[in-house]
């Protein structure tokens, strides 16, 4: 064992000597990496992103006095204390507006077309409250 180690060290542990000692196939002669790389052209790995149709925002009233605003709660788990605090805060700060807290139907990922219709028919505004 001792003798093998000396032989290994004497061989410089490089190139074929070390590889042969380890029972591996001979390595090709070492070639230094070129200092300057040639430029190459590669292909774009990305797909095609579609253009997006803009949705104009709804016109804003100058004031919310006399109007109704729904706080639409998507019911993310354990957020009711925040919804209560928000409703109380808005009612205290803007008492001339009617603030309504309304839990959205079903789970937070489900649509609630009936509620959207109701809000639109009342010409109201909405705050959509999302978790987390």
């Amino acid at each position: 064992m001792k003798g093998s180690r000396r032989f290994f060290l004497k061989s410089g542990a490089t190139g074929m000597g070390a590889a042969a000692l380890a029972g591996l196939p001979a390595l090709p002669a070492f070639a230094a990496a070129p200092e300057k790389q040639e430029k190459i052209v590669v292909m774009n790995p990305r797909g095609i992103q579609p253009d997006i149709r803009k949705i104009p925002m709804a016109a804003r009233p100058a004031t919310l006095d006399g109007k109704t605003v729904y706080i639409v709660d998507v019911k993310y788990p354990n957020t009711k204390p925040f919804a209560d605090a928000l409703l109380a805060g808005l009612q205290a700060k803007y008492p001339k507006t009617t603030w309504i807290w309304r839990p959205k139907a079903a789970g937070y990922m489900d649509d609630d077309a009936a509620l959207w219709k109701e809000i639109k028919e009342k010409n109201a505004a909405a705050i959509v409250m999302l978790g987390h």
């Binding site: 790389q37 040639e38 430029k39 190459i40 052209v41 590669v42 292909m43 774009n44 790995p45 990305r46 797909g47 095609i48 992103q49 579609p50 253009d51 997006i52 149709r53 803009k54 949705i55 104009p56 925002m57 709804a58 016109a59 804003r60 009233p61 100058a62 004031t63 919310l64 605003v69 993310y76 788990p77 354990n78 957020t79 204390p81 925040f82 209560d84 605090a85 928000l86 109380a88 805060g89 808005l90 700060k93 803007y94 079903a106 789970g107 489900d110 959207w116 809000i119 639109k120 010409n123 109201a124 505004a125 909405a126 705050i127 959509v128 409250m129 999302l130 978790g131 987390h132």
Partner: protein, 453 residues
């Protein structure tokens, strides 16, 4: 909705909401942010949040909401039209390999591991693996439903196949996966994982490992195909940008390879059909089958109990994010043991499991709020189950596919003996021991490989 609206979002999701608003066509949506999180916060803290400022703008929160609902719109915000995306170029500007590799990593084109740069010559070679034309459409993919879908051709898939070091003969398998349009990096705050199982003659043709270490990093085809699904998801499906198109809080190591494996069809017990045959394909067809879930366990249990009972016990108490579906990956030795105990098909075994698993009480009550209300009101059988305490097993299986109202948990049916199960069984491995794996994966669909040859 067509009425003045202000979304109120927790501050952690600013990047996501900004991105989604843009993608939904409202780039300047008036959003107010609250501190994060608002879930499980006491009322006095919530009052402070409401009376405080938007953490992202520093503006008083209530005034910002009011302003968002009343401030006049700019001409741009009121106008219809299109948001133009940067046109895609087929080739990238030339540069040195070193710079291009750095650019690919920087742009998020990779999974962080080394890649092969997709030169035109290499992509041409890859395209020899299919008879399809380079400009044929393969499919569309999105990170999750709120996002827009991206589109891609055969050539674009080939570029990604080159990047992971795939051989041209793997390409039809990769195209079949891409054709399903299912991202491997679904954007949710839970960290989704995927699995892809390959069946049919293509498994042997391309030298996939069906034996010892089939699920490990031991085979070029298994590795490249699984990895390529993730690069496709990022580059062709617009997925995987943390904070914008990927939200998994911790991420998932399984996304590196998506548990890509072939089924060991010659190790199936007599009467057990290969997965693709179960899904309606002929045995002689080559098929990929995709699964969606979150977590995966590797299990060996030396017990006096037979394997089918050990698996039943594991399923009963298994708990993860996805607790209503399961996929078992059995070593051929385990499959043989199970079959010998009287299960002539995979379906028979899945039926036994679904019909003989209950749900730990704490889990059942935490997921079935309607049942809990009824139990608390004294309605049987719920009241009796609740009386037994959270440690008792409620005799309702999580693994029967029941129709019922969404969000209501699995209360809908208490009979359901003939309902299909949500348990899938796949067989792979080298038979060195009686190991099996399982996780909360559900079947998400299959695609023909032969159509992409």
């Amino acid at each position: 909705m067509g009425v003045p609206t202000v979304p109120l979002i927790t501050a952690r999701f600013k990047e996501l909401v900004t991105t989604i608003s843009y993608k939904k066509g409202i780039p300047n949506m008036r959003i107010t942010y609250t501190p994060h999180p608002i879930t499980d916060r006491p009322r006095d803290l919530c009052d402070k949040y409401v009376q405080g400022a938007d953490p992202n703008t520093g503006q008083p929160l209530l005034e910002e909401i009011y302003g968002g609902l009343t401030r006049p719109l700019s001409t741009e915000d009121a106008a219809p039209g299109f948001l133009k995306r940067d046109p895609r170029t087929r080739l990238l500007p030339s540069d040195t390999p070193e710079n291009l590799l750095a650019y690919f990593h920087q742009q998020g084109f990779t999974d962080g591991n080394a890649i092969i740069l997709p030169t035109e010559r290499k992509v041409e070679e890859m395209l020899k693996g299919t008879s399809r034309q380079p400009d044929e459409w393969v499919g569309q993919m999105r990170p999750s439903p709120p996002h827009e879908a991206w589109y891609y051709t055969v050539e674009m898939v080939a570029v990604n196949a080159v990047m992971v070091g795939a051989k041209p003969e793997y390409f039809p398998v990769i195209l079949a996966i891409a054709s399903k349009g299912l991202t491997s990096m679904f954007s949710s705050t839970s960290s989704f994982a995927r699995m892809v199982v390959v069946n049919g003659p293509v498994v042997k043709e391309i030298g996939m490992n069906t034996s010892i270490g089939a699920l490990g990093p031991n085979n070029q085809a298994n590795s490249c195909i699984g990895r390529c699904w993730t690069l496709i998801s990022k580059n062709l499906g617009g997925s995987g940008k943390p904070g914008e198109t990927y939200l998994g809080s911790q991420g998932n190591q399984l996304n590196y390879n998506n548990l890509c494996c072939p089924e060991t069809e010659d190790g199936l017990p007599a009467g057990w059909e290969p997965l693709h045959v179960q899904k309606g394909f002929k045995k002689t067809e080559s098929v990929v089958s995709l699964f969606s879930g979150w977590s995966f366990n590797d299990i060996a249990w030396y017990s006096p109990l037979p394997q089918h009972e050990v698996i039943r016990g594991w399923l009963e108490h298994f708990f993860s994010f996805g607790t209503t579906q399961a996929t078992l990956v059995l070593d051929p030795l385990v499959a043989a043991d199970v079959a010998a105990k009287g299960y002539p098909t995979k379906e028979a075994f899945a039926k036994y499991l679904a019909e003989n698993t209950g749900t730990p009480g704490w889990l059942y009550w935490s997921q079935n709020t309607e049942a809990l209300k009824q139990a608390q009101a004294g309605v049987e059988p719920y009241a009796g189950w609740l009386k037994q305490g959270p440690g008792a097993v409620v005799p309702v299986s999580r693994y029967l596919r029941r129709a019922g109202p969404r969000g209501g948990g699995f209360i809908a049916s208490l009979t359901g003996k003939d309902d299909p199960t949500t348990i899938e069984v796949v067989v792979t491995g080298g038979g060195t021991n009686t190991f099996w794996s399982g996780g909360d994966f559900g079947y998400a669909g299959s695609a023909s490989v032969d159509q992409w040859r």
